[in-house]
Symmetry: C2
C-alpha cells in the first residue's frame, strides 16, 4: 500500500498492508486531515519517524469483526489497560501507550491502518464524511470543558484563531459566558467573525482587559506570555499547544498571582461526535482545500500556509 | 525609632515613628522573624527598598481603638476593598495593594508599625509569643489546602525541607494521605524526621516513584523540574516559592501530561492560628536562633545559612 513516510523528510512509499494484532481491526482510509502537530513533527517534535497522520475517517474491512463495514473514527492513544494510569481512568496517559502517527504507531496517511477496536467510534449518518475528520481536533477542544468548570458568569479569552482556536471558540460560543477570540492576523479574526465567533485583533486588546480563563491556542511561545498578562489573579490559563520549541513562562508570575495552569491534550470522541451530529459545531467552512492522497506532499505545503485552515486528504480511489 | 532599612544594602536607621492613616492602628513589635522572601529581596527580588520584615507579633498601642492592648499578628496584604479583585473575594490580589515589607509599605523590622486594623488577628493566649511569628508562613502552607482538594486516598511529594517545606509537611501530616518530604541535604531530612515528618533524601527517590500531587518548596529552579518528573499524568504541581532568578519549566511536558500547575502564595490567618492554638502544628523546634533587634544584621547572616531554620528577632527592650 502507499503511505506518507517521515524520516527527516516526507516521501510517499510502498509498504506492506499492516496485519491487525489481537483486538485490532483493519480500516480502509476514506478521508484524513493535516494537523498542526503533523507540521511540528516534521520540524522535529516528538522525534517521530514513520507514517504520519492521526485525523481520519475510514471503513472497517475486517470481515470477522462486528464493526465490519462500519464507518469509524479512532481515538489516537492506544493503551495497555493494565497499568496504574489505565486502571485509574487515565488511558490517554497510559505508560505503555502508542499514539497514531505520533509515537510508536503507524499513522493514517496511508491506504490502510490497523487499530484496536476499542479505540473506534461509529460515525453517525448525519455527519458528512469529510467533516468526520474534525472529530479528533474537536474532541481536543472539548477536553478543556472536561478538565475545567467554566462558569456561565465567567469571562474567557481565547488566543489564536487557527484551526484549534476556531474549534475551541465554536464550543465556547455554545455556553453562556462572555468570550473573545484574539489573533494578531486580521484575516484570521475576520474569518472567525464570519463563523459567528466573537473575535478581535490583538491590537484592539488594551493592556487592562482581563479574563478569568485564558486559553492559549497560538502554538507560539509569545502567545503564552500574552495570555498570562490578560489573566485575572487566581485565574486559569489553559495550554493547548505543543511546539518543537516550547515557551518557558515566568514562574514568579504564576506564584504571585496564584494562577492555575492546566495542560490540555486529547479529548473524548463521544461528546465531539454529539456536537457534530447535532450541527451545533459545523466546521465545514474551515476546509481550505482538498487534495487526493497521491498529492499529499503538496497538501502539506498548503497546510503550512498560516492563512489556510483545514487541509483534507481524499483517500477514495 | 530604629528600623532595618534595605536600599541595596541593609542598615539600621533612625526613622520617624509611622503615623497611622485612617483605619490603621500603631503596633509595638514584640517578635519578628526572617523569611526566605527577605533573603530574596536583598538579592533583588521585587525591587523593594525600605523597611523589611513581614512575620511578626506585636501589641496594639493606639488607645482609641478597641484592639488597644491586644497581642496581634497581621495579614501582610493591605487592600483597597473597592476594586474588582477585592469585591470578588480576592483581597490578597487587590490591584492597589501594598504588602508589608515587600511592596509599597514599611515592614516589621522596626520598633513600631502602622497597619489597617482589618488585617489584624488577636493571638490566642495558648500560643507562646515567639511562636506567633509562625502564623504568616503557616498560613502560606495552609493556603495549598485552601486551593486544592487533596484526597485522603492520594499521594503527595513535598520537595524541600526548608522552613516552608517543614511547615507544609507538618500540615500534610495531619491528613490521611501518603506523603513524603524530600531534600537533597541529609541534615535537613534528618531534622524533618525528628519532627515526625516522613522524609527521605532525593538520592533515595527512584525515577519511577510518582505522586498525584507534588509541592515545590525548594526555592530552586532545578527543584521544579525534579517535582514535575515525579508527578503522575493529570497530577497537580503546586509552586510555593518565588525567587529572584525564576525557573522556566518545559511547557510541552505540562500539555502532554495534562498537568495542573497551581501558584500558591499567602494564606488566611484564622486556620493557621487554630492549628497553633490546638498544638497540632508545633514549630518551636524550628527556631534555630534568637537575636535582639539591635543585632538584626547578624541575624540575617545566620538566616543565610541553609542549615538554619527560623531566626527570631526579639524586639523587647
Amino acid at each position: 500500500m502507499q503511505a506518507l513516510f517521515f524520516d527527516n523528510r516526507l516521501s510517499l512509499q510502498d509498504i506492506p498492508v499492516p496485519e491487525p494484532s489481537r483486538g485490532e481491526v483493519l480500516i480502509k482510509l476514506l478521508y484524513s486531515a493535516i494537523c498542526n502537530t503533523d507540521l511540528e513533527i516534521i520540524k522535529g517534535y516528538m522525534g517521530f519517524k514513520g507514517v504520519l497522520g492521526h485525523e481520519f475517517v475510514g471503513r472497517v474491512i475486517t470481515e470477522s469483526h462486528p464493526l465490519y463495514g462500519k464507518t469509524v473514527v479512532g481515538e489516537i492513544n492506544c493503551s495497555c489497560q493494565q497499568c496504574y494510569l489505565c486502571l485509574s481512568g487515565r488511558r490517554t496517559h497510559c505508560e505503555h501507550r502508542s499514539v497514531i502517527g505520533i509515537a510508536g504507531r503507524q499513522g493514517a496517511f496511508a491506504d490502510f491502518i490497523s487499530l484496536p477496536a476499542e479505540n473506534l467510534h461509529i460515525v453517525p449518518d448525519a455527519i458528512p464524511l469529510p467533516l468526520a475528520v474534525f472529530t479528533e481536533p474537536l474532541a481536543a477542544a472539548v477536553e478543556i470543558f472536561e478538565q475545567l468548570h467554566m462558569k456561565p458568569s465567567g469571562s474567557v479569552f481565547i488566543f489564536g484563531a487557527g484551526k484549534l482556536g476556531l474549534l475551541v471558540s465554536m464550543v465556547a460560543r455554545l455556553h453562556g459566558f462572555d468570550y473573545t477570540t484574539f489573533d494578531a492576523v486580521t484575516e484570521k479574526t475576520a474569518f472567525a467573525f464570519k463563523l459567528g465567533i466573537n473575535s478581535r485583533t490583538i491590537r484592539e486588546l488594551s493592556q487592562h482587559e482581563k479574563a478569568e480563563v485564558c486559553i492559549d491556542c497560538t502554538g507560539s511561545p509569545a502567545g503564552i506570555s500574552l495570555a498570562m498578562s490578560h489573566l485575572w489573579p487566581k485565574g486559569t490559563l489553559v495550554l493547548k499547544t505543543t511546539v518543537a520549541d516550547p515557551a518557558k513562562p515566568d514562574l514568579n508570575s504564576i506564584v504571585i498571582n496564584e494562577f492555575t495552569v492546566i495542560g490540555s491534550r486529547c479529548g473524548l470522541f463521544s461528546p465531539a461526535l454529539n456536537l457534530l451530529e447535532r450541527r451545533l459545531v459545523d466546521p465545514s467552512t474551515m476546509i481550505s482545500g482538498k487534495f487526493m492522497f497521491m498529492d499529499i506532499i503538496n497538501a502539506f505545503e498548503a497546510a503550512k500556509n498560516p492563512l489556510n485552515h483545514k487541509i483534507i486528504i481524499d483517500h477514495n480511489v
